[in-house]
Amino acid sequence: MRTKVLLVCFVMSLMFIGQAFGQTHRVTGRVIDQDDRSPLPGLNIVVKNTQRGTTTDTDGRYALENVSPQDTLVFTYIGYGREEVPVGGRAVIDMFMESLVIRGEEVTVVGYGTQQRREITGSVARISTAALRDIPVLSFEHALQGQISGVDVQENTGEPGGQPNIRIRGTGSISAGNEPLYVLDGLPMSKNLDLQGSLFRRRAAFKPPATNPLAALNPNDIESIEVLKDASAAAIYGSRGSNGVILITTKKGKFGGKPTIRFDSYTGTQSVANQPDMMHAEELIAYTQDSRNNNYIQDLDPLNPSSPDFNPSYDPTNNDGRPNVGNYRLPDQYVSWEADGRTDTDWLDLIFSSAPITNTTVSVSGGGPNSSYYISGGYLKQDGIIENSQFKRYSFSAHFIGDLNESVTFGANIHASFTESDRVPANAPYFGRPPGIVYSAMVHSPVVKPLDDLGRPNQRAADGAQSFLGGGTTSASNPLAIIDGVDETLDNHRTFGNVYADISLMKDLTFRSMVGIDLDNFQGSFFRGNSLLYRTATTGDPYAQSNAATRTNWVWENTLNYKKSLRDVHNFTALVGYTAQKDVSESNTVIANQFPDDQVQTLTGGVISDGTSTKDEWSLVSLLARVNYNYNYKYLLTATIRSDRSSRFGPGNETGTFPSFSVAWRMMEEDFMRDRFGFLSELKLRASYGETGNFLIPNYGAIGLLSQGLYIDDDQPVVGVFPVTISNEELGWETTKQVDLGIDFALFEDRIYGTFDWYNSKTEDLLLQVGVQSQTGFTTALQNIGKVQNKGFELSLTSRNMVSAFQWSTEFNFSKNDNEVLELGPGTDEFPDGAPIFVSGGAGVRHITQVGAELGSYYGYVVDGIYQTEADIANAPRDDIAPAARPGDFRFKDVNGDGVINTDDRTITGSYHPDFIYGITNRFYFKNFDLSIFFQGVEGREILNLTARHMKNGEANFNSYDILTERWRSAAEPGNGETPRADRATGSHGQNNRPSSYQVEDGSYFRLRNLTIGYKLPRSLTSRVAQDVRIYVTGKNLFTSTDYIGFNPEVSLQSQNMLVQGEDYGAYPLTTTWIVGTNITF
């Protein structure tokens, strides 16, 4: 296909050249705007170095007599610059002029249309091609990270193909999802993570983050990304707008453009970033001895001569005189370490390795006088830093546009991709099923050898195996055995795109009809072999699962656009539209176990034991309208309305209507401003109010559903059916009402420009599972009740510091969002605005969502220092949770001041919501060099570090963070003041490991995200083969400054569950990447 297009273009260009010789002749043609293809009237055309020339007529046409083939025509036009075209032998020269983009007139994509930037009254941010081109990314979400104010891109996992989370202006919903709506070339995309399937046996809390369904899109095919942040911009998407909207525009060819071939490729290597420091064998041994000695001394009092347990033979370094119960004895490995040959295994080193990455995209674009094309093919292969993990993407993209005649244009835009993810169980604790690799490696004792005498992963078998013993620590599965024993793949075919027709019905009135389709197929397989022994298990537990899912999503949109200017000052545009969309997904899962061996890893190798298949649908029909009016680009207003009817809404609440209204005043258009404040080149005040919805509620939430289980009758399974949900005819969308006030400004002829926005957004009718009395047969009912507020401000600034031969620009953005729950469910006497929601995450109840606090806050006791002396303990409030605290244990805070520390003293200890986020990019251009340095940071975010339960607990029952070497040893050796004493049985003494602020850690960070140095080879070197050749080196995640003890201060294990954000219970770490690449334009 591609070669044919190339061939055709090649032949066509030869034909033009062939006409290059002849006598003088008449040249005619038409001059047209490159972007909107409107004719350019009154444009000057001169034969170069002569006085001869002409201008175009109202239709953009011109004619010039007596032109010789050697002549060159010069086209000039205000706002479009100058183009020179050698005539050759051509009699017809059609010219496509590209407008010089003035910042305010830059075309910005908004929902269902485009606007010039100066016309926009809402809050819309844009990432341009240039910015996208500079920084090579694996998926477009990464291009947004730290680049746009108000957009928080969280990289929770470093797994290849992993999914970043995007939150625009905070978190408004508890259960209906907080993902923005993604619209690709007008096609609202589905991002249904359920299609990927999940392991039946995996506990929901340890489900790994989904792979990124939008990674199917090759970011090299993207022209621009716009983010609709405020309700007035997003309201045109009605019931899907409340989390913001991300509009992705893909690349097109240019009418009349020469064929351009682009080749973008890079290759590089990745290694683990920000690896935590764990104890070495010697440190762990000292810690273990300390913890067991302390326990022994406290429980049995062997040092006290008057005690019945007095033990003169007590030796803290060995087991003399100690009983073999109660964790007093020292494990043999720790006593006879000398004899053991000093094994000191660095398990983390064993599981991570450097991994290659390579990415190539080739595209061809161009066009004839009446058509344009863009086609591209891409290949990405990213190996994971943990063996057996990998992501591959094969992508193909094509966009054709053709004018049928003067009033009708057709287009087709297709993206097809195939991605292949090899996954490893990295995102789970050591006791997950399957166990987490990273976590198992962290907790594994360094005194254990990784391999047995036969060179196999050391597990519970003969031949020198001992891993199951944990070397005196709690047993965990050997991480190398997990890597070997689990095989999981997830393949995704995705095809999406649209065909459309733009029909000019009359002057100023155009009609567009678009049909879009998004087809998605997932195929997943999981195999856990006999070879992996789960912790102390003596036999393997083979298990295989196969998932398949398919989704069809189509949309049909019809819009009418009217554009009119009256007397050149009253500018109107109006849009009305009707859209229909339907999404049908089907999925099935089959499970097998009892595999006799690991030879056959498909389900046929075992015994099929279970399976399901499901089908789900939703549909949406909408009417939408928008009116823009401005008076001479000075006073602007926009009003939109959208009405959505969805299958998801209850029959009593079928249609939602979402209005918005916004106004702007471009003060710089006022004479008095221009006179007095000449240094300002733009000053626009904006105000908007709008209502948007969140329709990501369950597909059949309004309908009372029946579920089924089995019973055994006559020794055979029979199906039984029973109600599981209560009907709620009134069930509807969540509504977000948002006010936005903004200023756009530019100074010194656009040398400095920026945007400031303040917003206040309230999400109401929150979808909550409200508790009901169990006598109904149900425990919860889904209702629209509850309210959350997000308010904050955003600033983005660009400064072109130097604009001469040496160019230097700085972009800065800053966002602050405050999240507060205002109402939760039906009120009671004690809680007039609804009772708090306590939620168990990975390890018991550690999260609270309550009125007046941030959604999903952490909940527990507050550490208030460390007892240094017995007197400290005596003087402190009595701690009912700690049966026998000693110096070196935590002093917990008496939060309610009642003189006793008990369960009532649990309180909020932090949250995953950051105080503010920011990004700074500096770009430099000098001659052929370019350099960009991009820092990004998050401040005031806390992580609930559940790994601290095991690796910071003072019990020495796991290998531990080496910060425990700075533990409290005595009042004279208090350590770092934050780490308690070692005590093997703190649960029956000081209870230092209770859920508390000790496990809540500062997740603030400042990171060098990207450093790119590029060099454009001199034309003189490359002109024979290519137009442009740039080579570059990029480093990603080169440096992170954080106090967080774990791998990644952005971690959030259950990132899809708003109530338990911010947990670290083992995760695939981020990588540091170095790549070298080239961009070649032919």
Binding site: F200, R203, N405, V408, R433, I503, F511, S513, A537, T539, Y578, A580, K582, N593, S609, D610, K615, D616, E617, W618, S619, V621, L623, S646, S647, N699, Y700, I703, G704, L705, L706, S707, Q708, G709, Y711, I712, D713, D714, D715, P717, V718, V719, G720, V721, F722, P723, I726, S727, G771, V772, Q773, S774, Q775, T776, G777, F778, T779, T828, S840, G987
Partner: protein, 481 residues
Amino acid sequence: MMKKIIPASLLFSLLFIFSCSDDFTSLAPHSERNVENFYKTPGDIEIAVNGIYDALQGGGTYGTTTEFATGGTGGYWVLTEIRSDNTDQGPDVTGLSLQVAVLNRFEEDALNQIPQGSWIESYQGIARANAVLTRIGDVDFGARQDKDSFIGEALFLRSLFYYNLALLFGNIPMPLTETVSISAQVPAATVFTQLITDLTDAASKLPDVHPSTVGGRATKGAAQTLLARVYLTVGNNSAAETALRAIISSGVFQLVPNYEDLWGPANELNTESIFEVQFKSGLATEGSGYAQAFAADETQVGGFPVNQRNRPTVDMINAYEPGDLRFEASMDTTFLNPTSGARQRYVRKYLSVPAGDQDGDNNWIVFRYADVLLMLAEAIGEGGEAYGLINQLRTRAGLADIEANTAGTFEDKLLQERRVELAFENHRWYDLLRFGKAQEVMQAHSAGATLDTFDDPAFTFTGQLLYAIPQREVDLGLDQN
């Protein structure tokens, strides 16, 4: 041409707007049945009745749940056996096991998840039965003859859940139709009155045996057994006697000759079994977890993890007379742990090697014929016939007969016989309540608990005979009992 296409397509899209949008957005679930279109045919009713049975398998009712999936509840066996003097939690009293241990020691609070789980799951079963009973009247069964049987099964199952709830919690709501509106709490006595009506009705509608099945569904005998139990509970012994004699004279049930042949997957649905909750391994969701919940060590159950719960107390061990064949069939006190070498004891009645983790094949016997004989003895009171009934079971157990002259009151002897005959079958706590002995026995048990060599945990008996109504229900408007 374009001039024609354009208006045509506009017209078409307008038509689309006004014609299809209602249907287009009215979508019904494909993968789940829904309340609007279900309960219409006899087939619907049949699987809806199966759905009630399914509630018996729950981790809060007669089943036992994998801790890992649901956070761990234990069901009726925790609330009746571990609560009583028969068993205790076992050696592990940390984490989730702590919630069981505090129940054993009468220290639980209204937040304890185990009574809450039983409360919720029992009412789920009741709601499933109510849905059937409310809807079945409108269903035309045509030529099918099983409508009455379905009504009887639903009534029996609902009564079984209510019987447990009334004895465990006392003052409970008693909805009898499918509704989401709230019923007021009623005393247990009111519940029992209702159960007598319902079970009498059920017994009249249920067949002696189901023609199409060899086991798994409630029969007339099951309804009569529960009816007799309720009559005994409310003190109407003569009515109980009538029901029990009807069971005996039906000739459907016989004692199994050897007590040990009552137990294990191979002996299920024997002639003595009146009603048992069905489990089956190899189907992923239908296995039972008793073997793993009760075993002393993983080597006994194919290497799958064990909980070591429901451990016989020393009191229980001592309750057996020397030579009682039921002792070794019911428990084992000689197991030596292969790792630690420690001697351990556990309930053996449900020991089996499961096909997979939490996938055992053991059923749970709710009622068996021996219970009917003992209840008849209870109903008719001391006398030759009563001792004859008791001695049938003693003979099978290899023990000498007892009679009026044997030491102890008739009541004590009967209660003792019930204890050892029906050990670990969820009867003990209800028997103690019914015989009015709970206070006395538990007081003595708590005092003696620390004296034995097996480290039974000491505790203080609070005199609390009912479980607190779960806090979540109180928060939602119920009165605490």
